[in-house]
Structure formats: C-alpha cells, structure tokens
C-alpha cells in the first residue's frame, strides 16, 4: 500500500501543502484529528494535523512547516513519491458547535493546524474571527485561505511589517476591549503564545481551547511520550487530545518536554544537511 504524494506546493517560506492518497484515513477523518507519518524506512513517526479530508477521492491534505530533519526530508519529496507510512485519523475530533462568536488564533506552524478549524467553525454557523500571527510578513501562512473564509480577519507581526505590530494576544486584547462578545477562543501555535492567550482569556472568563503539540511516538496511546498535565492530571495528548481546555493546561511542562531532544534533533538535521550537500 503506497501513500502517494499527489500534489505539492509551497505556501510560505519553508511551509508546504501536500495532498496524500490515503482513502483509509479520509473516510473517517474529522476536524481536529491528525495523522502520523514516516517519510522513509528509517524515519521517525511524526504527527501532522489533517488540514482537509476529501472523502470522495480518498485524499488527505497536510500543511507543514520545516523545523527539523523529518519535515525537511518530507519537503524534499515530490509529487509521485510515496511515504513509508501514513496512519490516521488519530486523536479526538474537536468539539465543533455553533457557539456564537469564535476567535481562532494561529501562530507559526499553528496556522496550518488552524485552517481546518476555521472551516469547521464557519460551517457550524459561527461568526468567525481569525487572528493570524507571525514574526514578519514573509512568514505569514495561508493568508488567502483564511481571509476568504473568516468573517473578520486580522494580522499581527512582531516587527509590524504587516497588520498590527505586536503579538496575537495584543490583537485579542483589543477585540475584548472593543466590547466584542466572544463566546469561545481556539488557539494553536508556539507554547508561549498559547500560554499567553490562556492567561488573557482566563482573566476575562472566555472559554478557550488549545491544540497541544507534544512529542509523540506511536500516536495511539501506548507509549506515554505525549503526556501533558491538564487540571493537575496526566493525559495522553494523542488519545485524550490534542484539544484541551487552555485554562487547565500546564504549559511550562509542555515547553520543557518539547525541548527534551533538542541536541539530538540538531545532530540529526546537521547530518542530513551534510549528506544532502555531498550528494549535490
């Protein structure tokens, strides 16, 4: 069973969209779920959110940001190439309903995860406000896709090269201060961003969901690599999540656990880049 890459495009610097032939995954996929893939036979298992599931054609869209060896390797594959493994859908589907006004916040690679949620919340009848944040305007992902669907669309950049100068939380604060009644916030991105969003919305009593991205191995609940602390209890993000109540999450722990293999990740990437250079 090959998992063929049917389509590939660059959607931003170091960010790619791919469509994979995976009827078994497409059939049951729901928003908020993810897949685990291996690029090649010696590869590691990496989780990526299902950006779109085309049930008729049996296709899954993923959007990913190159951050290390595995995503780098993936980005070098082309249409027609096959992945070694592709497992899913995994995780609990997001709780989607008509809540009223929902603010969806994406930062960095999180914007890739955000996209299917924006679609789903919109289809459920919500008034959808999107805040898309990045360090500068060149790093903004999926601008067109998001602004087309959202009822209101805002951009923040750290350096002010586009939209509001500042963080996504600055934008959110403005919305709150402007008296917009927000029924729910969904945020995904760097841990520090999610932590800050959680802090802000807690002060204002706004229910907030975050999609957590701990390191995973199997993605099926049998290793415990992905454990996170929510409401003082240990949860396995791959089966209990990845969505959790932001006000209950121990972000500090998540941040630390994500750094566990920093040295090895560096080593792996450097080795790979050296090999690439040698092979021309």
């Amino acid at each position: 069973m090959g998992y063929k890459i049917l389509f590939k495009e660059e959607v931003g610097p170091g960010a790619y969209r791919m469509i994979i032939d995976a009827p078994h995954v497409a059939k049951n996929a729901r928003p908020g779920q993810f897949i685990v893939l291996r690029v090649h036979e010696k590869g590691e298992r990496i989780p990526l959110t299902i950006s779109k599931a085309d049930k008729e054609n049996g296709q899954i869209t993923i959007i990913f940001q190159v951050v290390g060896k595995s995503t780098k390797h993936l980005s070098l594959l082309n249409e027609g190439d096959e992945l070694a493994d592709f497992l899913g859908p995994l995780g609990m589907p997001s709780e989607i309903d008509n809540f009223g006004t929902v603010v969806l916040i994406g930062g960095g690679f999180g914007t890739a995860v955000l996209y299917p949620m924006v679609v789903a919340y919109k289809e459920a009848g919500n008034h959808v406000i999107v805040i898309n944040g990045a360090r500068n305007k060149d790093l903004l992902l999926l601008e067109k896709d998001l602004s087309n669907i959202a009822d209101e669309y805002f951009v923040t950049t750290d350096d002010g090269s586009k939209g509001l100068k500042g963080f996504v939380t600055d934008m959110l604060k403005q919305l709150i201060e402007n008296g917009i009644k927000i029924d729910r916030v969904f945020a995904v991105g760097p841990v520090i961003m999610m932590a800050n969003v959680a802090k802000l919305t807690k002060e204002h009593g706004i229910k907030t969901i975050v999609s957590l991205n701990p390191i995973m191995v199997d993605g099926t609940g049998m290793c415990g690599a992905c454990r996170v602390e929510v409401g003082g209890k240990t949860k396995f993000a791959c089966v209990d999540g990845p969505d959790f109540d932001a006000h209950e999450v121990n972000f500090d722990l998540l941040m630390k656990r994500l750094r566990m293999y920093r040295k090895e990740e560096q080593e792996s990437l450097e080795k790979f880049e050296k090999e690439l250079a040698q092979n021309g």
Partner: protein
Amino acid sequence: MGRIKPKAVEMAKRPVEERIKSFDEVALGYTAEEAMKEAERCLICPKPTCVPACPVHIDIPAFIKKIQEGDFLAAVRIIKQDNPLPAVCGRVCPQEDQCEGSCVMGRKFDPISIGRLERFVADYEAKTGEVNVQPVKEKKPQKVAVVGSGPSGLVCASELAQKGYNVTVFESLHEFGGVLVYGIPQFRLPKEIVKREVEYISKLGVKFVKNFFVGRTRTLDELMEEDGFDAVFLGTGAGLPRFQGIPGENLLGIYSANEFLTRINLMRAYKFPDYDTPIKVGDTVAVIGAGNVAMDAARSALRAGAKKVMILYRRTEKEMTARAEEAENAMEEGIEFHFLVNPVRYHGDENGWVKEVEVIRMKLGEPDESGRRRPIPIEGSEFRIPVDTVIVAIGQIPSPIIAQTTKGLEVHKRWGTLVANEKTFATTKKGVFAGGDVVTGAATVILAAGAGKDAAKYIDYYLQNKDKPDIWEELTKAK
C-alpha cells in the same frame, strides 16, 4: 533408557563483555549434538507431568523422542500441532513456572531443558527451509477481521486461514508482531524470527494491513456493518502504560517502559542517527519494577550506553515475575537489584530533568490476592537516589479506544480488560471474540497464542452455525 543424567546440557551464551555492547541475541541455542544429548536425559514418561503444565499441552515426550531419534522435523511438526510459534515460545516462555517447572527430573536433578529443545527444532526447521505451507482444501466465503498482530492475532489468523476463511489482520503500528517486535528486544528475540512467522502466515493467504487503528481508522461496527466482516477477533493486547501517579513523574528523562522499548526496538533508536528516532539514556538509570518488561528495559539501557543500571523493586527477589533466565542474565551483566524500595516522588533540576528518585523502604506483610506477600511502606524511611534516566515498568493495561468506540462491548471496570467467555472467547458483542492480554491483562506469549488458537475454533463454529437463533447465547454462556 540408560543411566540418569542429572545435569542439563548448557546452552552457549555470548560472553558478558561482548553482549552488553550489542543488541545481538544473547543465547546461542543448542547444536544438533547438544540437543540430542539433552533429549537423551528425558525419561519419556508415560504419564508426563510436564505436559499439563504447558498452557497449550504440547506432547513433550513425543517431540523429545523424535529428537532422540534425530528426526528434528518430525519433532517440530508435533510441537506445531499445539503451538504455532515454537521459535518464539522456546525463547521466551517462563519455562521454570510451566513445563520445566513440573518435569519429574526436576525434583532431584536439573529438569529437561524443554524450551531449549523446542527452540532448537524450530530454528532447525527454519534453517533447512522445509517449512511447508499446506494448501487450503476448501475455501470458505466468510470474512474475518483479526485486530492486532501480536501472538494471539497471528495464531488466530493462521488457524482461520487454514480452515479456509478470508482473513485480514489489521495492525495500528508499521510492523507486525505486537510486543514481539515493539517490546521484547532483539537480544532476546531476533526480529527475523517474527518476520518469518508473519511471512509464513501470509503464504496461507492472510492479508496483512498495517497503519490501521481500529476504533479510529474504522470502528469495529463499521468493519462489521459496512465492510462485510462476518466475525472479528480482538487481539489488541495490553499496551497502555501505567504510571504510579506520584509527584514529578512527568519530568524529563522519565520514560514508560513501553516508550523506551518502542523507541529502541520498533524505531531502532539505538542506531540513531542512522535511524531518525532519538533516545536519551543517561549514565545512571533506574528501572521501576521487576518483571520481564523491567529486565528488558534495564538490559536495553545498558546496551544503549548507561554506565549504571538499577532495578528498584518494592518486593523481594522471590516475588519477581521475570523469567528466571532473564533475571540471571541481567545480574550477570551487572544490573544492580535493589529490593524492598518503592518510589514516592521524583526531584528535578532547574531545566525539568529528573535528578533524584526518592524511595521509601518497604517490608513484606500478609499475602495479597495474587498470593504474594503485600509490600508495606516503612514510615520515615525515605531516601534519595541520584539518577539521570528513569524507566517505569509497573505494568500495562488494555487501551480503552476500541471499547469506547464500539457499541455493546463490555469491559471489566477495575482492570479495563474485555469481558469474554473463558472457553469460547466470545465477548458481549455478537460476532466479536477476544483473547490474549486484552482479556487476561498482561500475561505471556504462550497464553496469548493459545487463546488465538482456541478462539479460532469457536469463530469457525460460530460462522458455521450463525443462523442458529441462540448461537451467541450459547457461546457466551458456555462453561
């Protein structure tokens, strides 16, 4: 029969210095000569005490007789009537509690090395390449789904294919074999052996599908109602790691044994960076627990570069549940055993890495429900042990995913195991059978294999009598 030979023929092992640096198999197995010499010791008892002590009742004297006669292939055929995985079981069965533990010779002398003999003939068969695949006489139209490719699933699939059914094995991981590939390390059970078994079973016509997580990719109900499976066997094992739930357990450097072993075995992290998956093994490693899983984790940690590995166990040497041979191997390799201590808390450094495990001393009290004396903490006896890595190996329970996503599948509240009839393996859901660790909780390879084999019998019976009005009642009430 000649004179009694009290001493068992030793099996060659790789020397300690060599083996702690590699993941190559430790036990080297008998030569043909050694096997025949060991077989000679067997009294070929007319009323053998060893047979009832083997969970699948292999005709042990009959197969040993064939070894005495030098007909090794005949020997393996006898074993395979009852145990389709002799190369595996010969290596990993807790023989001292089973067949060998009840051998009459063992009352005064060394028991017959039944496991080693079983392993020898299975390896011999594989080497000569004379594994013959019996063509299936009569194909049957019904489709059976086997969920999980551990020993129970593999054996069940193999039996059903031989009965002519159309069998598909669904496995969530990217390799087949269950614990045999992701849990038990290469140095104890080479992956090639498991691969061989899977290849053999696919030759019987069984379809193997990887990357398919039943409950998510498809639910059990969908498999039965939409995809046309007439019956299902659940051999999904007990893969959900348990933690103690004590403070500090989520610090960096604290692994579940499953994660540690999965990284090493399934993902080949010991070959990082040639393989992409990393593992962190510090100089000083503490393994919590003293079962097979703990031994495997400890010995893997040593091979992955740890300088000092400690087993921390809350009971004593006598209550350890690991196979005797592996505990012995672990001691030989220099693993330290600390008994009557139990972790109560972990302490971390400023970056969140574990640096000490705080343990409390224990004493043994009255026997508990398992018959082992219950460990009781001695108040005020806490002390700290410096560590870089901790591996928690205190047990696994079945994953709740399938039960959560299936209508009418009952689970034992306390253990999370599936409710199934002990004789027929029928669950509370019509057409669904279950066996192995998912029913018994973490147990043994041979019990799982035996369950898969017996379940196949009743799945066959069910499919042939599906129209009987009270068939499921009959299967779930059977005694």
